[in-house]
């Protein structure tokens, strides 16, 4: 069975110009394709260009050259507002530092992406998303400061899923978690992928990458390997 191509990157480069210095080329020509339903880990050391690659694939940034085709649309040509629209409708993000609004309940945090859509019922989808990530219902009203790291990241994942995105991006999602919570969170990503969600995790940690069925290694702005493991073989 052939799976549909979700994202295709062609010859992506991204340079950053800093004042008074020569430009730094963070990506030097990267091509890849991510299929619907895949669980991909992008692994690389700090400064390898993995985060830059995620920003480009996640429509948070635009390439210096090359193109990104998301769901058949050439997104690298879109303007800022159109990119925001794409992020709103098709993408979800999870960050290392959870990035929850302080003094705001878990339930309200999850509603945030819906504010920028035409959806009129904010609470229903937010409750469903929290339930989907196994967040305890008696803590829906808790503020981030009253939750453990693992719980906060669950809220962040629920927030990323609330608008039912086609791809879930996670940038070092376990970077601020202890190992037990890390296992829980990676287990959750695996579970979400099993339910059909396309997941892209960016990490420097081989153990985290090990949860994915496909590992793309980035080094010095280039992809140095792209390997598939057989499903079911990976979980440690």
């Amino acid at each position: 069975m052939t799976k549909k191509s979700l994202i295709e990157a062609r010859e992506l480069t991204r340079s950053f110009q800093k004042e008074g210095t020569a430009g730094v080329q963070a990506l030097k020509g990267v091509s890849l394709e991510i299929l619907e339903g895949e669980f991909v880990a992008v692994i690389g050391s700090s400064g390898s260009g993995k985060s830059t690659l995620m920003n480009l694939l996640g429509c948070l940034d635009r390439p210096t050259s090359g193109s990104v085709i998301l769901d058949g649309t050439e997104v690298s040509l879109l303007d800022e507002d159109a990119l925001a629209q794409v992020r709103s409708q098709k993408l979800g993000f999870v960050f290392q530092s959870f990035n929850l609004l302080p003094r705001t309940s878990a339930l309200e945090n999850v509603q945030l992406p819906l504010l920028y859509t035409d959806v009129s019922d904010l609470e229903g989808p937010a409750r469903a998303a929290l339930e989907g990530v196994g967040f305890p219902e008696d803590r829906y009203d808790h503020h981030p400061g009253e939750l453990s790291g693992g719980q906060q990241q669950r809220v962040a994942i629920a927030r990323a899923l609330v608008n039912d995105p086609e791809i879930l991006f996670a940038d070092e999602p376990t970077g601020n978690l202890d190992s037990a919570s890390s296992q829980e969170i990676m287990g959750l990503f695996t579970e979400l992928n099993r339910r059909g969600r396309t997941v892209v995790v960016v990490t420097h940690d081989a153990e985290v990458a090990g949860y994915a069925e496909r590992i793309i290694t980035v080094q010095d702005g280039l992809i140095v390997s792209d390997s598939h493991s057989s499903p079911g073989e990976v979980a440690p």
Partner: protein, 410 residues
């Protein structure tokens, strides 16, 4: 995205950073408090001006003896002093009544400053006026007791007086003044009338401090001369005020043989001029206070702008997150602008409330009533919100200009 949702986000943003919101609100509140107090005082002053013009009488003009530069003649503000110009006479009164169209009534009066009024061992200094019965009509002067100066009193040069409530209080205390004999500049007069209350004059004087005696009695018995201090003229129609004033000017110039280019020996005051004069007495004071309020508002605006700028810097993660989940640049701009406008609006509301308290305190200190009209409320709400929007423009633009990647990189 609905504006209501953005406003909701802005208000939630404020509640997340309460101390910051409090400081911003305080900044605006101080400015609006000052503005409210200043405008209320100004409105109160305006109301008093209108009240004084009403007291002066909208249907009346005054002819004063003495030219426009004859400052010794008049006291501070309007009218009042002793006449040193000996050219306005009773013949002028008759001429105005007979020859000028549109004149309903004329009331001449004579006075020479303040005089000593005595009863038994008590004395008081009071403006003593020599008047005719018309004086009551042109001023609508109420009577408390007894009768006003009558026509007979005037022709017979009777030694009778009608005195104001201030004089009664100062000299007679709780005793009945009717029928008592008072000494006016050493000459005895019987009190035959007590005047009703008139309040404050257009010039700010106490109109209840008055001793009225018949004009002829005053001229012959008290000051022994024959010239007047002024003539009050009531017109038929207030729309003809200016033309009546012009006709009287022409008539008196002719009667007093004043050639073109010569200095006039009289002066005419209409209600319009009274308004201008009383306003001039208040004007510079108001301008200064409005300047103070404006400075306070600018300082408040700078406080808000600074704190908002700080806030944008500290909330980059939040901005990045919102952008990542689908917020467009203008959503971010609106959110911060609304935060700034909302905090200023709330500060403005607080300022209005504090201003009301300030009004009460100011009334206690200065004794002049403040007037909080809807203009003042509207100005407070408008200026606070405008300052909030202006103060938020730069911080909001800065927030909106952050790219998602920049903002997320902490």
């Amino acid at each position: 995205m609905k504006t209501r949702r953005l406003l909701g986000q802005a208000l939630k943003g404020l509640t997340r950073y309460r101390l910051r919101a409090f400081f911003m609100m305080t900044g605006i509140m101080v400015g609006i408090t000052v503005l409210t107090v200043v405008l209320s005082a100004g409105m109160g002053a305006r109301e008093r001006i209108m009240e004084r013009v009403r007291v002066f009488g909208l249907e009346n003009l005054m002819v004063w003896a003495g030219g426009p530069t004859d400052q010794t003649r008049t006291g501070p503000g309007l009218g009042g002093g002793s006449s040193v110009t000996a050219t306005l006479k009773q013949g002028d009164v008759q001429a105005i009544l007979e020859e000028v169209d549109g004149v309903r009534e004329v009331a001449p009066f004579a006075r020479e400053g303040q005089m000593e009024v005595q009863w038994r061992d008590r004395s008081f200094t009071s403006p003593v006026f020599g008047i005719t019965p018309e004086w009551q009509d042109v001023w609508d002067w109420p009577m408390e007791e007894g009768s006003f100066i009558t026509s007979d009193d005037n022709t017979t040069m009777a030694r009778v007086a009608a005195i104001g409530p201030t004089v009664v209080r100062e000299i007679f205390g709780s005793e009945d003044p009717m029928g008592q004999v008072i000494q006016v500049a050493g000459i005895p007069f019987e009190v035959t009338g007590v005047l009703g209350e008139m309040g404050t004059s257009a010039g700010g004087g106490d109109m209840d401090n008055r001793v009225f005696v018949p004009l002829n009695s005053y001229l012959r018995r008290v000051v022994n001369q024959d010239y007047l201090a002024g003539i009050r003229v009531k017109v038929e129609d207030i729309r003809e005020m200016e033309s009546v004033a012009a006709d009287i000017t022409a008539l008196l110039k002719e009667r007093h043989a004043i050639a073109p280019g010569m200095q006039q020996d009289f002066r005419i005051t209409t209600p319009v001029e009274v308004t201008v004069m009383v306003e001039e007495m208040q004007g510079t004071f108001d301008l200064f206070l409005i300047l103070v309020a404006a400075i306070a508002l600018v300082v408040g605006g700078v406080v808000v702008a600074n704190i908002m700028l700080l806030s944008v810097g500290e909330r980059r993660q939040e901005i990045g997150l919102r952008r990542a989940v689908g917020a467009k640049a203008h959503h971010i701009r609106c959110q911060f602008l609304l935060e700034s406008a909302a905090v200023a609006f709330l500060g403005g509301m607080g300022g209005i409330v504090l201003g009301m308290v300030g009004n009460v305190i100011m009334e206690g200190v200065t004794g002049t009533p403040a007037l909080l009209t809807w203009h003042v409320l509207a100005a407070g709400i408008l200026f606070s919100t405008v300052v909030g929007v202006l103060a938020g423009l730069h911080p909001a633009s800065k927030a909106a200009a952050l790219t998602p990647v920049e903002a997320l990189r902490s």
